[in-house]
């Protein structure tokens, strides 16, 4: 190992340029891979939701997103349905500001939903909403950080935009709990009780509609759950039964939603990974070039090693190891730079709920492993060339 490092140091400029090729490639793989991992983790939540709950919405031709709460009773009588929850979703930030990352939403609690396969909530601080309580809110980790809220603070929802009209209504809520970070869109959610969610939904309706409609009799959609562990195929069948037996609603087959999410995930991964691989290939070519030059310069050394008893395989192994070390150094440096940049960007963007990178252990292993593997593969031809040198010719070369 000392010999390898000394040989790299003897040609500082060349070694630096070669390793830089790997650094750039692994930096690209780490950052783009972290982008893909983040999107994939968000999509994974979508897959989990789509693969567990059946979303029941108004039919496509009905543009107003309102369903009678009484429809829930009809849905609950469909064979295979274990639970029906009304689902409300209101924008927390109505300013219209364009933001990267998932939107901040106010949703209603779905108490007990973990019994049907949805992940249980984990609190970083505070507690769950008291049953039926008004004026309480649980914040996702990103939302709490973005708005600087802790348990016990009051929070106006929806957020009052700059220049709001006098009749803009922002209700005061008390933060009773902050959820632990999950890395998925629920970090940007605020959860309130069903009654408060209906109140907030009503605020989104035109005043004329609000006065004509009993908003307490409506929901925006339903989340329908089957027994824990129900297969995707069976969920599809339940969704079809709902479509067939309950009027005024529309469901999408969970398997279709899962397929959409997975297709999107594959596309993201392919785009980001492809770009990074391209950069890596360039790094690999620079390793090939450097190793060929190294073998050419060290022909007599190779002859000497064979003269003192090195087998062909041992010479091959030494040069492959040298290539692998180049890959390891470049990989560590590129990974370190990528990790640093992604951490910095996420930290800088945390105030705006901009968390767009996710460096997972899997990504770290891939980045570092790929660097070593690529460099080693790139070193095969030069190493074979070295190993096959005739010792007599090599010793007497100029």
């Amino acid at each position: 190992m000392k010999e390898i490092l000394n040989n790299l140091l003897r040609r500082k400029m060349r070694s630096t340029l070669t390793i830089s090729g790997i650094v750039i490639g692994i930096f690209a793989l780490t950052t783009m891979g972290a982008l893909a991992e983040h999107f994939n983790s968000m999509l994974a939540v979508g897959v989990q939701y789509a693969g567990t709950a059946i979303a029941v919405k108004p039919p496509a031709e009905q543009q107003a997103s309102l369903l009678p709460l009484a429809t829930g009773s009809q849905i609950s009588r469909v064979p295979g349905v274990a639970a029906v929850y009304p689902a409300y979703q209101v924008m927390a930030d109505v300013s219209g500001t364009i933001q990267l990352g998932p939107p901040s939403l106010i949703v209603n609690e779905q108490r007990g939903v973990s019994a049907y396969g949805m992940p249980a909530m984990t609190f970083a601080s505070g507690r769950d909403l008291a049953g039926g309580a008004r004026g309480e809110v649980i914040l996702g980790s990103a939302m709490a950080t973005s708005y600087g809220k802790r348990v016990g603070d009051t929070f106006g929802l929806p957020l009052r935009p700059r220049g709001a009209t006098a009749d803009f209504v922002s209700h005061r809520f008390t933060v009773v709990g902050v959820l632990a970070k999950t890395g998925n869109p629920t970090d940007d959610f605020a959860q309130v009780s069903d009654a408060d969610a209906r109140m907030l939904m009503a605020d989104t309706l035109p005043p004329a509609v609000r006065s004509a409609v009993d908003v307490n009799a409506f929901t925006q959609s339903f989340d329908v759950y089957a027994a824990r562990g129900t297969s995707l195929a069976e969920l599809d069948r339940i969704a079809q039964r709902i479509n067939d037996t309950v009027s005024g609603v529309q469901t999408q087959k969970p398997s279709e939603m899962v397929a959409n999410f997975e297709s999107t995930s594959t596309t993201f991964t392919a785009i980001f990974t492809g770009a990074a691989l391209l950069a890596l290939l360039i790094g690999g070519l620079s390793v090939v070039n450097t190793m060929i030059m190294a073998v050419g310069e060290r022909v007599r050394e190779i002859g000497l090693k064979k003269a003192v008893g090195a087998h062909t395989g041992q010479v091959l192994a030494e040069y492959l190891l040298e290539a692998a070390v180049i890959g390891a150094i470049g990989g560590l440096a590129g990974y370190g730079l990528g990790l640093g940049l992604t951490t910095l960007v996420d930290r800088l963007g945390s105030s705006g709920s901009l968390d767009i990178f996710l460096v997972t252990p899997r990504l770290s292993a891939i980045a570092l492993g790929f660097a070593v593997a690529l460099a080693t593969i790139a070193g095969i031809l030069p190493a074979l060339r070295a190993a096959r040198l005739d010792p007599v010719t090599a010793l007497r070369s100029l």
Binding site: N6, V308, G309, H311, Q314
Partner: protein
């Protein structure tokens, strides 16, 4: 120590459309512990003889016997093992690895002989002391003179306690004073370590200090004289 026997050695190679005979039926026996020089004009086959005796080159015909073992049938790997354990080399251009210091260069030969690292280091330090480089253990080759580098190469050749040391113009790249010092060193090591030395040289002063001078011409042994004995002309 080892008894080296070259039996009817021939070595030919193609040069364009011609066949060149570098060795033409060389018969030579070198008893263990002897210090032999091989002299001759350029093209006489000296270096080829060294390469074949050192198992770096396979003969076209004949055999190289080391302690009676015919090496011509051995695989490349087995020949490499023999070189690692039983043969040391000293080259005109030293051939030290610039990335390693003095001790590491001497221990390079241990890397491929399968010996324990600790033993190799002890032996390397002992030899470096013997060759007068005990104070320069961590110097790099570019920090040493030509004579000092050749001393390192001699130590490297002896680190695995070989039976045979082959020198290819070992004094060819140094001045006369250094050359004398190196020859005295090799003589001392030949006596104290009991290692058989065979050196190829143009340096007649060096040859005169060896136990035996074998002269080659056109790939054949034409003279073989021992120190203090009448010269033997070979047909």
């Amino acid at each position: 120590m080892a008894d080296i026997q070259l039996v009817n050695l021939t070595r030919t190679y193609r040069q364009g459309s011609h066949t060149v005979t570098a060795l033409d039926g060389v018969d030579l026996r070198i008893p263990s512990g002897e210090f032999t020089s091989i002299v001759g004009r350029s093209g006489s086959g000296k270096t080829t003889l060294l390469d074949v005796a050192g198992l770096l080159l396979r003969p076209s015909g004949g055999a190289v016997l080391i302690d009676g073992e015919d090496t011509s049938r051995l695989s490349d790997g087995r020949r490499a093992d023999l070189r690692a354990r039983r043969i040391g080399f000293v080259f005109q251009e030293y051939n030290l690895l610039p990335a390693l210091n003095v001790v590491e260069n001497v221990m390079l030969a241990c890397r491929y002989s399968g010996g324990a690292r600790g033993n190799g280091r002890r032996r390397a330090l002992e030899l470096l002391d013997m060759v007068g480089l005990g104070e320069r253990l961590h110097h790099r080759p570019d920090q040493l003179s030509g004579g000092q580098q050749q001393r390192v190469a001699i130590a490297r050749a002896l680190v695995n306690r070989p039976a045979l040391v082959l020198g290819d113009e070992p004094t060819g790249a140094v001045d006369s004073q250094t050359s004398d010092e190196l020859v005295r060193l090799m003589r001392t090591l030949n006596r104290e370590e009991g290692v058989t030395f065979v050196v190829v040289t143009h340096d007649l002063d060096l040859a005169a200090q060896t136990d035996r001078v074998v002269r080659l011409a056109d790939g054949r042994v034409v003279a073989d004289e021992r120190a203090g004995a009448p010269a033997v002309a070979c047909a």
